[in-house]
Each structure stands twice: as C-alpha cells, then as structure tokens.
C-alpha cells in the first residue's frame, strides 16, 4: 500500500479572511512498510501534512492517493481510511477522557464492527504492547496516571484499531533520553512487523538514526526528500535551512576547519567514532 501525494496545497483562512498558505504544491510518495520522517522548522507545514494524510483536512488543491484511490474523491470510503491510518497527535495525553483506561483504549473501536470479544482482545493487546499489565491498569482512571503512562495509554488507543499506517506528530518531545530511546525502539519494532510509520519530529538525531526516508519541509514547500543518509549528506542545504545538522556533522565541520578532514559522509555518532578511531590510531597515535 503506497501513498502518493500529488501537487498538494493547503491554505488556512484567518478570521480577517486572509489566506495563509501552509502547504505549497507538495508531491512525493511513501511506500508500504517504510519508516518516513518529516522534518522542518516550526510552521513549515509538517502537522498540516499529517492532518491532510489522515483525511482530517481537505486539500485546497492537489490529491492524496492511498492504494491508488483519491481519499478526497466523492464516494471514497472514509471509514476504511480511518481504519487504515492511526494518528498520534502531539501531547496525546491531553486526549484521554474516559473513566477507565480500558474504556478509553476501546473507544476508537466502538464503530469498527468488531464484536465485544474481538474489541477486548485488541484492547488487551494494545495495552500490553505499550508495556502495561492489562489486569493492573484496565480499571484505573487514565487521568490519575503519570505523564509518561498517559502518553502510552493514548498511543494504545490508536494501536487498538490496528492501523496499517501509523503517524506520529512529535512523539518524543518532552521525553527523557531513555524514554525517547525506548519509544523509538518500539516504533521501529512496529515498523519491522509491517506497519508503515510516518513521524514528524524536531529531533535531528532521532530522525537520522531511526528513519529510512525523509521529507524536508520549509515554508510549506518540500525542499528535499530521499533516503535519510542522502538527505543528511546534502549538508549545504541542511545548513541553509533553519534546522541544522546532526551533532556528528557539526563536529566534522569544525574539525575540517581545524585541519583534520574527515569524510563528509559522516552523519551519525557511530560513523564519527569509527572515523576518529581510524584517524587517531593511525601511525601508533593515542
């Protein structure tokens, strides 16, 4: 299942009637099973793109094809779109509302056509996937949980619908380093088991290390896209846009000014470490 985006534009209309273009003529495609990152500075249109992909906004112009079908065409089955795509918005913990964790997670399945046993099985699976002991957590109030637990419950609510495409808007903002790492490992596992993952993030190191493809947006335009390594490798563009390089790339740039030229292909920490080991142990140094 691939997503094809064709010349997609979207404008918000302000109270004054003034139109603000949030996306301008974006075209790209996302293959089934991919792990795609969307990056760009605040206000570049990342969240708007996610909302368009989820069918929550209708484009001002252009098309989104899922399975070759235009999701905004008259007569398109929106129900099947909702079952295919799951979206975890920024700060999902604020979306919790039910009296128990179990009811909250089950809410999205209400109109799914599944029978009670199937719903219960999905809820249990989703909560266990998010690291909870089902019996311990099911009757608790979601509002009494810690911030990190709330976020996991909110994500379980999306997982319970077993979407084939999972989209996350800034899922790791506000998580501590190990929280970030375990969450990224979890979505990598989901991806490896066949789920297509699309993740919006400001975290350059996370995007660099975990995604396979990147879409780079700036002021509503798609300014670069491709394999993650290739995009990070095109460093001149990254410098000119407002979101910089990985820390390893910054160190390489600074070292080249200090007369140690390392390969410009170095992007991650591991790349840098092995290049430095090679360079500094050469000729018995160290």
């Amino acid at each position: 299942m691939s997503i094809t985006i064709e010349n997609l534009s979207y404008s918000y209309v302000q109270h004054s009637g003034e139109k603000i273009a949030a996306l301008k003529g974006v075209s790209c495609s996302i293959e089934v099973g991919d792990f795609v990152g969307i990056m760009g500075p605040t206000g570049c249109g990342k969240t708007t793109l996610l909302q368009l992909l989820a069918g929550l906004l209708s484009p001002t112009s252009g098309h989104i094809y899922l399975h070759g079908e235009d999701i905004n065409a008259k007569g398109y089955d929106r129900n099947s779109l909702r079952q295919t795509i799951g979206v975890v918005f920024q700060d999902p913990e604020y979306q919790l509302f039910a009296t128990t964790v179990e009811k909250d997670v089950a809410f999205g399945l209400k109109h799914s056509g599944l029978c009670r046993d199937e719903i219960n099985a999905n809820v249990k699976w989703a909560l266990e996937t998010m690291g909870f002991e089902f019996e311990k957590i099911r009757h608790q109030s979601p509002l009494a949980l810690s911030g990190g637990e709330k976020r996991r419950v909110a994500i379980a609510g999306v997982l319970a619908t077993k979407p084939k495409i999972l989209m996350f808007d800034e899922p790791i903002a506000g998580l501590d380093p190990y929280g970030r790492q375990s969450f990224l490992q979890f979505i990598t596992q989901m991806n490896q088991s066949g789920t297509t993952v699309i993740m919006v993030s400001h975290n350059i190191e996370a995007l660099c290390e975990y995604t396979r493809h990147l879409l780079v947006l700036e002021q509503g335009k798609l300014i670069d896209s491709g394999a993650t390594r290739d995009v990070f490798g095109r460093r001149k563009q990254m410098v000119s846009s407002a979101f910089g390089q990985t820390e390893a790339q910054k160190i390489v740039t600074m070292l080249s000014e200090g007369a140690l030229a390392l390969s410009p292909a170095i992007v991650t920490y591991d790349d840098l470490l092995s290049a430095l080991k090679q360079e500094l142990t050469r000729g018995g140094m160290g």
């Binding site: 990190g148 903002a173 929280g179 160190i251 200090g258 500094l280």
Partner: protein
Amino acid sequence: MIVEGKQICFSYDLGGTSFALQNVDLSIAQGEFVTILGCNGSGKSTLVKQINALLPLQQGELTVAQIDVRNEQDVWLLRRICGMVFQNPDNQFVSSVVAEDIAFGLENYEVPRREIPDRVQAALELVEMEGYEQRAPNTLSGGQKQRVALAGVLALEPEIIIFDEATAMLDPSGRQEVIKIMHKLHKAGKTIIAITHYVEEAVTADKIILMHQGRVLSCGKPQAILTNLELMGEAGMMVPMPVRLYYDLQQAGVHLNRCPLTDEELVEEICQLRSKT
C-alpha cells in the same frame, strides 16, 4: 542565598505513601545559573513549583528572596519575584495580541496604566521581539512564542526566572533563540533556574542539580557531573556526545588530554593530540 530549602518532602498522594520529593536540600545563590537535570518523574518540576508556591510546601523549609513560601499573604509577591516559563508556549497565552498578552500580568498586579506600555516595550526588547506588538501569537514560530511568554514574565521584573523545560517543544533554531535569551538575562544579573532533559543545555550552567526518584543525586559543576558516567547512568541520563566520544576513544586506546564537555573542547583536544605527532 536567594533560594534556600531544607529537607523538602512532597507527595501527590494524599495518604503520603509515595513521595515525589524526598528530603531535598537546595541552595541557589543570587545571579546563579542552575540547571536541574533528571529523567521524567524525577521530581524536577515538582521542586520548582514549590519555589513559586504553585504547589504547597508540605514538609521541610523553603525561603525564596527571604520569603517563607508558606506565608500565603506573600504568595503574589513571591510569584512576581520568581517568574516561570512552561513547556508548551501555546498554553501560556491569554490574549490574541502580543502586547496585550504581555500586559496581562502587569494589569493583574495593578501596575499604573500609564506605565504599562513602557514596561511591555522594555520586555519585548529584552527578548528581541520589538515590532511584534500587534501580532497574533498564533502567527509566531515556536521560539518566538516562547520569547513572548518570557516577555510576559520579564515585564514583572522578576529576580528569578524558572524555565520548566521551556525548550522541549521547540525546533533547533527555536531552542537556540530561547537559550540565547536565557544567557543574556543571566549576564544581566538574573538568577536562572532551568529544567531540561537536554544535557548539552546543562554544559554552560554554573551548577547542576541532578535529580533521581525525588532525591538530589548530586549537585556540582557541569564538568564534575556530566563527565561522570556512573552518576549520569544512575540518574537515567545520557552524557553529552563529546564525553561519550572521549570514553569510547579511550577504550580504543586513544587518550585525549582531558574529557571535553562541548563540541568546541572536543575539537580542540583532537587537534592538540594530532599536533603532538
């Protein structure tokens, strides 16, 4: 000491069986830049919310600018002296116009109306947002929004400014904008207390308070804390990349002269090592 706390304990649970803070001692000097570092749930936010009485002090002692935080009649004075910027800039706006938003706190403190425009202007200059007076906050970037939220705090001329993960939701350039203003305020003599998960933001602090499970695990200079693998590991934190690189290179038999904290120090050490040959 502008902030002095002894044996602070706090529990969100009414029965008091699980503690968010346990026997925390705290001392922050006037004009100091202190970073509070620790993983989610370590008690960082709970601690700073005691400093400006957003949470009541349950056990222990705490004075801020010689005010006992338990004195309810001083709570408004305390919050004027000690301003706070939160994580999500969107949750901090009360008006649809930047200048009115900044004036909101001043109006609440009954600052004479004629003084308000100048105070708003001065605050906007401090955060380098002059010219944005009539803009709607929702049209600003993340970094700009946080700077407006900060201007609302600065208009009250506080002595202490607390940043509760104020950079967590910003893009890299927005983060840099806010960090730059934090340091500018510090240079101007303000006491800065910054909570963060980003260890690289802690590198330039005067002092780091490392928290874990409601306790102060360690307190000291960045060099002593951020280069201590064991301590940082115990706190559930990762060390800055230059520190990690220093130890990984050491394992490979490459010995840098000292453990660098910043990218600049790392580059300097590597260049020095190379120049020896």
